[in-house]
Amino acid sequence: MEAEKKHISKRILSRTESLVEVRKFVDGAARKFGFPEEDIANIILAVDEACTNIIKHAYQYAVDQEIEIIIFPSTRSFEIRIYDNGKSFNPSLIRPPELKDHLGHKRRGGLGVYLMKRLMDKVEYNFIPGKRNEVRLVKYRSDVSTVTRR
């Protein structure tokens, strides 16, 4: 078993203003981990999308709820776990985006989940009924991701 380095965490309020803080927090951690610029940008965007979904769907724009972000850097991977206590979100109900369906229909849902899956190596949703929701996002170091994907 690979020993995990010390995790770092941040709590934010469920409002879109908080996204700046989220990006700053993830940027610092991903940079420290040694990811190249492109990976850093992708991870920041994926976490922004996950938090945006929580603000919109789990908390339905209630601005005083809490979102907790915990980052577990290890030798091979960089894992972000995001927790909320809002309404459970079932990503399997989100259809892959048919871009043409979005045109003019103000149908925005689904783009974020699709992006997260494209930007990260692993996206997982877990629900602890009556307790909290968890999203796990994982990015492998590029030199090991080719091995992992084989």
């Binding site: 879109t16 996204l19 990006r23 922004d48 871009l99 979005h102 045109l103 003019g104 229909h105 974020g112």
Partner: protein, 118 residues
Amino acid sequence: MTDFKIHHRDGDGVSIIELKGYLDAHTAPDLETAFQKLLNEKKYNVVVNCRDLSYISSAGLGVFMAYVEDIRKNMGDIKLTNMSSKVYNVFDLLGFPLLYEIFKDEQEAVSRFKEIKK
């Protein structure tokens, strides 16, 4: 505070929208307001210059999707220009280059509107 600014200028029958900073779920409503204003003013030839756009998330992309059809129904279009590779990458992941004309340079996009007019 999220750093995002929209600057609007008109010229030659084309409206130029310049975006600066971070376009996310917090700032996307500002872009919606800008597009709605263009529709209200019946300005349907729109070039969005992304030269100073540092960041875009799906909330920002959703705004382009929501307004382009109304603009095209009125024989106009939204054309995008001057994107950094980082911003282009996000547009590309969602297949935007199939739905929108994206130009390297603002002037190229303005000229395209003039060609169509002829």
